[in-house]
């Protein structure tokens, strides 16, 4: 027998020897019993389970978006606080300048007044 024929013969015999065998009548009830024995949340029909998965995913995505929005809002508030502080400092600086001008004007008038009195 040539090696090729031998191989062909062996392959034919393997096909015959490895035919599938049946596990018996009790197999399907066994599978269904194991499904029934699972906790209630694990027993949801596959489509319902898929819907629940999508809902969970949607909820998780919403939480992430909410956290990002809150973070953005917080950053904006900090920026607004900085701007308000800058404006306040600017207002104080302007007020300080005005007060200095007024002080100098009053001082100049006070110094001029005694000189006029003494001249009269």
């Amino acid at each position: 027998m040539s090696p090729d024929l031998e191989n062909e013969d062996l392959e034919r015999r393997l096909h015959g020897a490895l035919e599938a065998v049946d596990p018996g009548e009790r197999f399907v009830p066994g599978v269904l019993a194991r499904i029934a024995a699972e906790p209630a949340h694990a027993q949801r029909p596959p489509r319902a389970a898929a819907v629940v998965s999508w809902l969970a995913f949607g909820l998780a995505a919403s939480v992430v978006v909410a956290v990002l929005l809150a973070h953005e809002w917080q950053l904006r508030r900090i920026e607004e606080g900085r701007e308000a502080r800058r404006q306040l400092v600017e207002a104080l600086r302007v007020t300080d300048e005005k007060l200095n001008l007024a002080y100098r004007a009053v001082n100049t008038q006070q110094q001029a007044a005694p000189a006029e009195h003494s001249g009269a």
């Binding site: 062996l10 393997l14 096909h15 399907v28 499904i35 596959p46």
Partner: protein, 183 residues
Amino acid sequence: MSGDEPCTSGELLTQALAGERAAFGALVRAHQRSVYSLALRMLSDRHAAEDLAQEVFLQLYHNLASVSSEAHLGFWLRKVTMHRAIDRLRRTPRYASAAPEEAAAAASDTEHADPMLERRLRSLVSELAPAARAVVLLRYQEDLDPVEIARTLKMPVNTVKSHLKRSLAQLRERMNETADALT
């Protein structure tokens, strides 16, 4: 399911997806021979094989939404069965070294010319290394070609071909030894 009218696998899939247990039972019945036989010939233990096959269908029940067609279902079942079996062989070495009598005795109900020879052949297959055994089973029990086997076992096609070549050589040699011993 509607009465005694036979349903196509596609209809069964749709009904099982909608949560109909009877339809899922019919799907299990349609594929139980293939899944159980692969598990039995990988583990060489009837109880372990039945347990593994049930686990595979339990996993299918929870993942039905990801199965798109009848062809995909067959592919999915073979893939999960083989990976679970190889994983169990790694975790429980007693299966790997178990006496192959159970696998050898597990003949189909059809009659063949030489039951003794086929029994010996099954015994020799169950003595192959797990990866090589998986390749041989998918080739000769499930009738898959090397490309389909490579996809199922996630291994390169050339590795599948070399497993097949070496396994056939090994089986032929052992069969010849048996024949010599008998004469």
